[in-house]
Symmetry: C2
């Protein structure tokens, strides 16, 4: 299938029938940087748009070690066994630096991968954060067109990807560890306030008591913040992904969230706002990318930076000069 030049129409049909080989091929097209692939990818997406948007999109974040893989495997397998079709996409901006995704590990989620209703796609490597954003969103749309009705977008909890994932999902979960003091400091600035639910994982054995105490602290803290989703109070619970405890309850929370926000209109409103925001964010990223990637600009920008830090030039003057130079290119 990879060698032959498949037409857009064939791909549309293949994806709609949830032929995994066609879906994988379509995603490869989305991830390609070649212009002819980009054009074909956009034609494909446009034809599939009417079939998108019908899933529940769940974002999951947490520091490395919080047990995200184990949790997603337990959660995804449970959903597959209930008849849901589950796609797991991973965002790992660090892989753009290390040129190898830590999520690419084939041994991850072995049990989930064997489910016929599951589709697990590691993070696309290479490219800037804007590129990762576009690829993940478009891959999500392809998966929806292929009939997946639960999309899980996982972020590795390093870098700046949480805000990006929040902006593409309906429900955002922070998976964290039990503990207090130093361990809690692992939570990144701003993350707590993006979440619809916080699950304290590894609430088993000797950890259980402490996990419940941590849940109680988070519950008090949650009252301090304005909820990110209108009308929804952040749900705070414990779970043990290892023992499979708290997984059913988490899914009930998601379903309750979906029912309530759909009935209040908040669900649809967020989807529309996410679409709009994506347009404006993409325009900004493209404007910046064109400016900063101009080889002629680099030396000028660095010279301005140096003059500013040495107190020889004001920022306002530097910006005016740089823009004049850019527009004359």
């Amino acid at each position: 299938i990879k060698k032959r030049n498949i037409s857009v129409e064939e791909l549309v049909q293949g994806v709609k029938c949830n032929d995994r080989a066609f879906l994988a091929q379509a995603i490869t097209l989305i991830e390609s940087n070649a212009q002819k692939h980009k054009d074909k990818a956009q034609q494909l997406l446009k034809l599939l748009l009417p079939d998108t948007g019908k899933s529940i999109r769940i974002g999951i974040t947490g520091v490395p070690g919080a047990g995200k893989s184990t949790f997603i495997e337990a959660f995804g397998t449970m959903l597959c066994e209930q008849g849901y079709k589950v796609a797991v996409l991973a965002i790992d901006p660090s892989s753009t630096l290390t040129r190898g995704s830590i999520l690419g590990d084939k041994t991850r989620m072995e049990r989930l991968i064997q489910q016929k209703n599951a589709f697990v796609r590691p993070s696309p490597s290479g490219g800037a954060l804007g590129g990762v954003n576009r690829r993940t969103r478009e891959t999500m749309l392809l998966c929806e067109a292929a009939g997946y009705n639960v999309i899980i977008v996982e972020t590795v909890g390093v870098g700046q990807s949480e805000g990006m994932v929040r902006d593409m999902v309906d429900f955002f979960l922070l998976l964290t560890l039990t503990g207090a003091g130093d361990e809690l400091q692992g939570i990144k600035r701003g993350i707590l306030e993006l979440t619809d639910a916080i699950l304290i994982n590894k609430a088993d054995g000797e950890n259980k008591v402490q996990a419940l105490q941590t849940a109680s602290l988070y519950t008090r803290m949650a009252h301090v913040f304005q909820p990110i989703t209108d009308g929804w109070t952040v749900n705070i619970s414990t779970c043990s992904a290892l023992l499979g405890e708290g997984i059913t309850e988490f899914w009930q929370t998601v379903r309750m969230f979906e029912a309530e926000t759909k009935s209040s209109g908040v669900f649809e409103q967020r989807r529309l706002q996410q679409q709009k925001k994506w347009l404006y964010t993409s325009i900004r990223e493209e404007l910046e990318q064109r400016f900063f990637s101009q080889p002629e600009m680099r030396a000028h920008i660095f010279a301005c930076e140096r003059d500013i830090l040495q107190g020889k030039k004001t920022v306002t003057t530097a910006v005016a000069e740089l823009l004049t130079y850019y527009e004359a290119l």
Copy 2:
């Protein structure tokens, strides 16, 4: 003084001598949108740059009603009496909408205004957030050149100005109210994590016990977040601006912060990073401003937005079309 056309050299001398009329004139120049004023303002700033940067810059935020004016008046007056020269600048992005600053009220800070060592400047009105940012930063530099050694930048706690203020000050204070539950929900998302200190104001009379309880909750919460300033633990205390209690202690905290961060190099490092960030932020704002303010672009952007929301066009296609159109203008 306002009618005559004062030369840049006269302004430089006037500001350096801390002649208030010249300082006010210089700030008016910075705030002007006329091109000849802009050019003159930048010449002035360039000549004054060697005399800037020698103050401690303190940002203060808090919801309306937290008692910021009363606090700043008590704090500023105390500093003036100790021989410090205090400049108070206000940022009020809402005034760009209402066309009248709620901070422009002449009756505010009556006691402080009477101090010969104090300079209180209400928020400049009009213009976008980027403009407010530039004007406030440049006004701060003028005040430093005029010899003010404590600069207080106040934000009214509405809108999106806290991150902007955080990026231009050395020390950031959240002034908040005593209380729990609903009252605490007034704290805006992300603010808590920007602060170097939280002061619970109105800790007097019947409120005192509750204020101490709130301080204790914040102290536990502070452990959850990574501190915004390397090596500094967020300071949480109570005060009563009305009774003048806790004001001396706050100043001691600021001095301790200054001593520690200067000795560790974090102070200077932050200043350099703020300068760099301001350059890059200004470039981005200018690129966006030029794109979005093009009258020819507006109709195209709105058409794309509509097509996207109706599922007729992909975001990627829309962005490519819009950028092609823009570059052909």
